[in-house]
């Protein structure tokens, strides 16, 4: 058997990753119906509560920048991964890609890169509003740190979205994802500070990944939240856990 033709040069494998990511980004740039709500929601909230209803309270402007960043970062991960995977499983596109010699990692990395890009855009827009309109006092290092939290903080939600996408096919996914997204954001204190909530909900908050992301974001904008490494580890754990569960389901059911 002629095995020479089976060898794929490393450069071409890398090329497949680049092409997959490029296609994924083009698809979403051409689908404003998907991108606009994800980008606009957190920014509109911030304008309402962080700017218009906030009477030049610097601390509130910083606090809300962090919490709405966390809120905004969850969506591209959950919806970008979950909805598109559920739709692509339903439409036969994933089946075709699995039959083709597509490197499986290229598919996942393409979507992940897309989510990271959107999360960074959401975070950057919020920063523009916070610095330019709400005049939140932030240093350059803090701005950079928050952008890093946004860009990497999307990953656990990518993994959760991936898992949901393997559980549901087609149009059911957006509904279920909203039922995860909105309550989780509320219960993690992204809309109202946890201190304003019942004691029980405050104590339960650490079970949500978004709570830990919010702690990291608050730390980035200068609030004293104690040690941050436990929260990084918890998020890493969530990411790996969701990924393993999703990979197991994908391998079994496709």
């Amino acid at each position: 058997m002629n095995t020479d033709t089976l060898v794929m040069p490393r450069g071409r494998v890398f090329g497949a990753y680049v092409e997959e990511a490029r296609s994924e980004i083009l698809r979403y740039l051409r689908n404003p119906g998907f991108l606009l709500p994800i980008i606009l929601f957190p920014n509109v909230f911030y304008v309402m509560f962080g700017v218009l209803l906030n009477h030049s309270n610097d601390e509130a402007a910083r606090y809300m920048l962090a919490s709405y960043s966390s809120f905004g970062v969850m969506a591209p991960g959950l919806f970008g991964f979950g909805v598109s995977l559920a739709l692509e499983r339903d439409s036969g596109l994933l089946t075709l890609k699995r039959a083709l010699p597509m490197p499986p990692g290229a598919y996942l990395l393409g979507k992940m890169l897309m989510a990271v890009c959107v999360a960074t855009v959401v975070g950057a827009l919020l920063l523009v509003l916070a610095l330019g309109v709400a005049h939140a006092p932030l240093g350059a290092a803090q701005v950079l740190q928050l952008l890093c939290v946004d860009a990497l903080g999307v990953l656990p939600f990518c993994a959760l979205g991936l898992l949901v996408g393997t559980l549901l096919k087609g149009q059911g996914a957006p509904g279920l994802l909203n039922m995860i997204y909105l309550p989780m954001a509320f219960l993690s204190g992204l809309w109202f500070p946890l201190q304003m909530m019942p004691k029980l909900l405050q104590q339960l908050a650490p079970i949500w990944p978004s709570y830990h992301l919010n702690v990291l974001a608050q730390h980035a904008v200068g609030f004293n939240v104690g040690a941050i490494w436990p929260h990084v580890l918890v998020l890493l754990g969530f990411t790996i856990g969701f990924l393993l569960l999703a990979a197991r389901r994908l391998r079994r059911y496709g």
């Binding site: 033709t5 089976l6 596109l93």
Partner: protein, 307 residues
Amino acid sequence: MMVLDTVLARLRGVRKTYGTLRALDGIDLALRSGEVLALLGPNGAGKTTAISLLLGLARADAGTVELFGRDPQDIAARRQIGVMLQDAQLPPTLRVGELLRLTASYYPNPRSVTESAELAGVADLLMRPYGKLSGGQQRRVQFALALCGRPALLFLDEPTVGMDIEARQKLWAAIRHLIAEGNAVVLTTHYLEEAEALADRVCVMAKGRVISEGSVDALRARIALKRVWCSTQLSLAELATWPDVAEARSDGDRVCLSTEHVEALVRRLLAEDMTLSSLEVRAAGLAEAFTELTREPSPSPASAEAA
């Protein structure tokens, strides 16, 4: 170096069940280089399951599945195949050229975007978004994606389903062109004329098994039945007892008789009924041959009243 009779893909003693449904029941199938194999069979015969095992989309419960001597789930094996699936919806916002560029990136030595598009007759569509194309154009784009990696073996799952005659002829011409270049093809189809037009070898599947395998001619010869229609005073029950009549049924105001010995039957019909009229004799097409082969072993009496 051209190697004849190299087996490119093989199923050996393969079983696959989904829940309680036995989709494949000990199937053997081999595909050699340069060959065009058509898989025919009614829905639920196991065609799609056989294809998905060969593409590595599912694992067999028992038996071996080989693609270029490897496990089809090994990506290196799939780098030599092109795939056109029946119901894959591609991203509607991507342009045809972008889809080709993406798919070609999966292969070690692909055709250029222009060459692939020209081979599939979609060169004028490269800048168009996939979602804006007609059904026939979309199928041709999918064919372009199947051939863009310069594969040695093409899997075409119902390639012309839902196409009008002109679009179908165009796609057939493109497939023939690749076959002429030495590509092997596995084709599943509902259209028997598609198998006749393209295939060297036909496998008829039913209930998870291959029940007939051979050339299109051999398949037709195996079922050498002809059909005789006529208006006659002879009763259907009586005709059914004649030794030359394989099957008798009424068809509108005529009777339809199936037979292997058409001359003897017609001679006897004319002798026994002087008033016989509207006589018509037809050879069975591949369609009838196919129906015969996949018929249930115990036919329900006097069933076929349709048409």
